[in-house]
Amino acid sequence: MTRFDTTVNGTAHVAEVDGHESAVEVIRDQFGLTGTKLVCGGGVCGACTILIGGEPTASCLLPATSLRGTEVTTVEGLGGSGDSGAPSAARLHPMQRAFLAEDALQCGYCTPGFVMGAAAFHDRWRQEHGTAEPDRHTIAEALAGHLCRCGAYEGIYRAVAAACRGDHDHDGDEPDRVAARVDGPDKVTGRAIYTTDVTLPDMLHGALRRSAIAAALVGRIDRSTAAVAVDLLGDDRRVRWAGQPIAAVAAETPSEARRVAAELDIEITPLPFVIDPEEAKKAGAPLVHEDRRARRNAPSAAEGPVLPATWDGNRRNSGTVPFRGMAAKRRVRRARETGTGTLVELELSTAPQLHSCFEPHACVADWSDPARLRLWVSTQAVDHTAHSVAEHFGIDEADVEVVADNVGGGFGSKVSLGTEIIAATELSRLSRRPVKLVLDRHEELTGTGNRPGSRMAISMLADDDGRELQALLVDVESHAGVGIGNVVGALAMLVYERSPRLAHDYDILTNGPPGSPFRGPGGPITAWALEQAIDEMAHRLGQDPIALRQRWDGNERRGALYRWAAELPVWRARPVAGAQTGRFRRGVGVAAANWFYFVDPDSEVVVSVEDGRLVASTASQDMGTGSRTVVARAVAEVFDVQPTEVEVRLGRSNATTIHGPTSAGSRTTVSLWSATTDAATELRREIGGSVSAAANGTSATARRGGDRGIRAVPITVAGIQIGRGFSGAVHVSEVEVDTRTGRTRVLRVHGGIAVGRIHAPELARSQCEGSIIQGIGLALYENQVLDPHTGLTLTANLEDYRIPQLGDTPEIEIHFEEAGWDHVPGGGVGLGEVATISPAASIGNAIHNATGWRATALPVRPDRMIEALSERPSVPSAPSRGAGR
């Protein structure tokens, strides 16, 4: 052991290390400064940034011993220390205030690191340039070592520019007043506690042993080398994908736990497996789910319940949606044979996209008191988790508490009872000690779910003038690894209505990691096919793609968006497809989106007065979407106070809390807003307008309930009811393609969103901007790559799994159409998913507009662009009829 001195935030510390440790471990685990986050562990994301002598440094790769004798600043000390030497909450660095005011964050997990890097840039910039405003390029270069998965990049640009201009110099700003989000002040100072930051006395650390091979039968697990170990396999003892957890162990330190897990002696009999979906379809391919029982237990990539289906080997028929389907098929066949009408036929493919939440899946379980199970979980569903944990462990729900004060992103991957929860709980039960289990980035990017890849074929038939859509056929094979329940093609049936149409959805099972719900499950994939097909149709017909959609799309809300989009200067000035011959080619594309309106009518909110303060609570959570702020604002509106005067208690489910919605299916805001308003109104009726200690103890509870008038599907399944009406979005994107190096840059995106009334405009805008950023990732960079021979995930780090950077952010304008949702209490529905569907497709169409080449395979990487452009001469592509399959 080596001991050394270092000064952190003005306070002397002594560290004790072995030698191989990184600085982040010492700062978090020994000094307890958990504002510094560990995300990629590879120097890519900057979440672990600290200042050493004022220089930003990635502490995940910095040897701990390099802290020897240095002056370190962490986010907790960024604003300087008060006289007492302790960091004072009131003193913030101008950059922290700027992040608050410009809403430069969502989940906040990247925020401490970003703030540190940006503050250092600010200090240097101000010294050299005074209050001149740095341009976006300069900011992006300076912060190239930072990533934000939520995609709060627009806000970050604004914040950095504003702070450098000197807009936030005044120490007098009260952070709470300027903050767009009520939890912002905790997040920019590193005070916000996430599950990964929880430390309990006497706590053990857990680690998972994962399978290195894609299929196996597991025999005896020798647990004698581990103090505590649990077996995680089902009765069938089968491993079905490389990376699947087999067992979990607990030890005194994380690295000890990892060592013990790696050394567990496990009897493993390899079984045949199949990784390539095309191979998996062939007769005689190894069966991924070998019998009915296995098929019944297959993990689901769907957000709701999965309906029973027919199987044919590794092919599962997950649904056929016909509307005069035979007519549709007949018409397309005839068009192929006779060449009449305008027939667009495309074959497309998409690649698996990883959620890559910045806070990894994590759980701290404390079952040291057998009568009470307490869990800290990084989850988008505290209430549902409490329920499923109680069910899984056969205990009373009243004895379970689930806490998720802050959640560093979920995007759909944190809705179910994950292995980390089951393993930590079981380890705690056995050891009678608290156990913490945090996945590392490698695990996070391998086995916590993905937006499944797919292969699609679409046929779209119109008459010669495009007056009428005559037939639409969509065939989709989804590749969710061992997972099932993908619905993609069916979604394409809902947009351009009235024509004969037919969709087939199949799951092709392979021994790959399971897919899971990801923001608008199926939606962006559907759009990649449908919206490119209609674009191609417009191109062949020589018509305006927006005008064609206006003719075929009966949705009035989208109608308003089309009118808005058609008037955008960038749209009106768009080039003729494929007409450019220079090195850099610009293009503009449009795509539309359609999504459901989901609500959880059983959601409840209680508003009360405690210690003379307004308190609102419900068993929901804020994973960066802003639900805490939305609830605060709803109460504040009723009482005419500042949102920061309302204390919002979310992220907790226990015997005393009431039911709150899961943050998935875009249902949180729409489930909470009116219930909060109703409860607050009721309370106000009881206590009058002024809140004082005299009212302490009064409270009112309201349930969301259904909508006015009829509902589309009046049954609630798994906390979801499908409400009446579809939400809509339209995206117009401008790209620039470098035909030499194959790189595509997105320059500008206009996003039109029709979800009715917007309750918290800055936050809503941020959500929509983040959707665009993730759409850019899907379109251009992101791809989980598996080794074809072993099924191992090769892109299990943030270097090889490429998510969009600050410098990839286009200029973004978000436009809201607020009409059309009067039947919904509060006047608006959720937007987290509808906003995520059309960005990638609009980029595909813009690429076609720029180059004349129709990109069918996602992501449109430089290699694909180069190969495509070297095959085609650079002449304008003449509108042509009929394309063979």
């Binding site: 080596t2 072995d18 030698g19 191989h20 990184s22 562990g41 120097g43 890519v44 900057g46 940034t49 220089e55 930003p56 990635a58 995940c60 790769l61 910095l62 040897p63 011993t65 390099s66 300076a142 190239a144 070592g145 290195a212 490389a242 990376g243 690295s255 990892r258 060592r259 030499r740 190096t741 194959g742 790189r743 251009l780 960079y781 790559v785 598996l786 080794d787 074809p788 021979h789 072993t790 191992l792 090769l794 892109t795 299990a796 780090n797 270097e799 090889d800 490429r802 969009p804 950077q805 600050l806 410098g807 990839d808 990487r861 430089p862 290699d863 694909r864 180069i866 190969e867 070297s870």
Partner: protein, 314 residues
């Protein structure tokens, strides 16, 4: 045996064995992934380790000099090297990573770094990338290993005819230290425990024109698909008196493009010369099934740097 020894001289004390560590930006990630706790030999306290010294014959850059320092302090006399340094990784990494560590870093192949698989560089008996996925692999297929060498700095040093000083006093050319890349088990020809103490650059070229470019999919901070660096010295008639073109991301060692250099020497930097020099860089390319795109990309990347150098002259 875990623990740490802080070295104060490049000569290892007798009996001390372990893994040398400079900035740690490569090593720490590998240790974490492998959950390894070897004995560490920390280089950061070695005398003269971080200094940059110039004299008439050239420049000595201590092995512990950071990439950021190289980018900042050598931009006047060695612009090609400085531009290469300034474009790699991220500002935070450049502030810590050392030039010695950059030369000695291990491959970034996704099989090599994967905890559940072995390759020729990690004790395995075959290259899983060759028959597996190698989208970022080599174009010049000269080794059983198919992942490109990671060092951008080595590429730039090659076209400077640079040498490295080793502990014990000898020096070797960078080209020798890199070797021919044929041995699939190694990233360089340094012996076990052989320490780099400095990089030695010959005297700078007066009026060097230089350009660096990396072709990537995103804005920045991404390993190059292909990277190229070029330095040119013109005579009074505007003809190329001397030049160097380095290419990275394409072979198990960075390459110097001698054939293209020969085409440039004695010519003006006109479009035709640039086109033929760029095309010459793809001679003998033997792409793998997934790296065919890199052939046109080599040409595009070299053309990019040559055009920039030519424009500089106007």
């Amino acid at each position: 045996m875990s623990g740490i020894t802080f070295l104060t001289s490049a000569d290892l004390p007798p009996g001390v064995e372990g893994v040398v560590r400079a900035g740690g930006t490569d090593l720490q990630e590998r240790l974490r992934t492998a959950n390894a706790t070897p004995h560490i030999l920390d280089l950061t306290g070695i005398d003269g380790y971080t200094s940059v010294d110039r004299d008439d014959d050239g420049t000595r850059i201590g092995a512990g000099t950071t990439i950021a320092t190289v980018a900042r302090e050598l931009s006047d006399d060695y612009p090609a090297l400085a531009a290469t340094a300034g474009a790699l990784a991220t500002p935070q990494i450049r502030a810590v990573a050392t030039i010695g560590g950059n030369l000695a870093q291990r491959t970034r192949c996704w099989y090599f770094r994967h905890p559940h698989t072995a390759c020729l560089k990690s004790g395995g008996d075959s290259c899983p990338a060759r028959g597996g996925r190698h989208l970022y692999g080599v174009v010049f297929d000269t080794s059983a290993c198919v992942h490109p060498h990671p060092s951008s700095i080595a590429m730039a040093l090659l076209i400077h005819d640079a040498e490295v000083a080793l502990a014990g006093g000898q020096s070797r050319s960078v080209a020798e230290v890199l070797g021919d890349g044929v041995d699939p088990t190694r990233d360089n020809q340094l012996g076990d425990g052989e320490l780099l103490t400095a990089v030695l650059l010959p005297a700078p070229w007066p009026d060097e024109r230089a350009a660096y470019h990396r072709s990537i999919s995103r804005f920045e901070a991404e390993w190059p698909l292909v990277e190229a660096v070029c330095r040119v010295r013109l005579d009074d008639g505007g003809r190329v008196a001397d030049c160097g073109i380095g290419l990275g991301g394409v072979a198990t060692v960075p390459l110097r493009m001698r054939a293209a250099e020969d085409l440039l020497r004695g010519s003006t930097l006109d479009d035709d010369t640039i086109a033929s020099a760029s095309a010459a860089c793809t001679q003998r390319a033997e792409p793998l099934p997934e790296t065919g795109y890199k052939v046109p990309l080599i040409e595009a990347t070299v053309r990019e740097v040559l055009e920039r150098v030519a424009a500089d002259q106007a």
